[in-house]
């Protein structure tokens, strides 16, 4: 059986994706110079890629992302809206309370005035009699 024809594609793909090789594949590499050369070449390539792929993150990157999210995210907007709603509700509630108290105050004031004049009227009537 020709080991090159039967296994090379499979072995080379396994090398490319860095899959762990089976015993049969390892044995194949030992006798196949094409696959040995490719394994060496891809290892070198992987090293080069590893050295060349810059994964440095600029300082404060996560903070900038979170600041952007916090600034205009729907979640924050929803929370802001809720806060505004609550404040408005409290405001309107307080206005209603104020109006009620004012109404009560006026009613009591009017009551006192009526009672005062009623008192005067009753006193003058009593004096006349």
């Amino acid at each position: 059986m020709n080991t090159f024809d039967t296994r090379c594609d499979e072995v080379q793909q396994a090398i490319a994706i860095k899959q762990s090789l089976s015993d049969a594949q390892t044995s194949h590499i030992e006798i196949c110079e094409h696959c040995t050369a490719l394994q060496i070449e891809f290892r070198r390539l992987d090293d080069l890629l590893e050295q060349s792929m810059i994964d440095e993150v600029p300082a404060g990157f996560a903070d900038r992302v979170m600041a952007q999210i916090t600034a205009i995210s729907p979640q924050t907007q929803a929370i802001d809206d809720q806060v505004v709603d609550r404040l408005l509700a409290a405001f309107y509630r307080s206005r209603l309370l104020q109006s009620l108290l004012l109404g009560l105050g006026i009613a009591m004031g009017v009551g006192h005035i009526v009672r005062f004049f009623l008192g005067l009227f009753i006193t003058s009537m009593a004096a006349a009699l």
Binding site: Q13, L45, L48, E50, Q51, F61
Partner: protein
């Protein structure tokens, strides 16, 4: 804490949970995006856009549909990176030397910096010439956080196809680098 837990927390409005996801994926994202050789300064913007769009659309992300958060995030990143490349295809871009110097380990010699930067430049120039979809499959394969099945999901192809794309991508890159080293040792 796994991604599923953090995503659920973030979906419920816990921004600190999303921050943990940002911290977890920022490095792989930069690694992936840098491989596209995007115009100078755009990598950070695209990385930020990726995470911002992920957050904005977090409500529509459903783990139950099968895609992991990493897959979902890299689909967004790939989409934005390719859009940017389309826009800037004919613009000339280089990694400035001072930028490269900032990324080096403490006090390497000037010659070491130069050699490293030249090699990096060569690899990135070669990567730029590797056609899609081989390039993105190859770049994704360098991200340790991604499994092959996840790369297949990002690339929207079968597992077999992604394996052969990585293989072909590496073959193309190796050929291009060999030519580059032969032309300018």
């Amino acid at each position: 804490m796994d991604d599923i837990f953090l995503v659920k927390q973030a979906q419920n409005g816990n921004s600190q949970a999303f921050r943990l996801l940002v911290l977890r994926y920022q490095k792989p994202l930069f690694k992936f995006l840098n491989g596209f050789r995007l115009p100078s300064g755009r990598v950070e913007e695209i990385a930020q856009d990726t995470l911002f769009k992920a957050y904005q659309n977090l409500a529509s992300y459903d783990q139950g549909k099968g895609a992991s958060f990493a897959t979902w995030l890299f689909v967004i990143a790939k989409h934005l990176a390719l859009n940017e490349l389309d826009r800037s295809e004919y613009r000339h871009s280089t990694v400035e030397m001072d930028q490269a110097m900032d990324l080096e380990c403490p006090a390497p010699s000037a010659q070491e910096i130069l050699v490293k930067e030249q090699t990096r430049q060569r690899v990135h120039d070669a990567l730029r010439q590797v056609a899609e979809p081989f390039r993105s499959a190859l770049l994704l394969s360098t991200i340790e956080e991604l499994k092959l099945a996840e790369i297949a999901e990002i690339e929207q192809c079968s597992l077999g196809t992604v394996k052969s794309r990585i293989f072909r991508g590496k073959q193309l890159l190796a050929e291009l680098l060999t030519k580059s080293f032969e032309a300018d040792p």
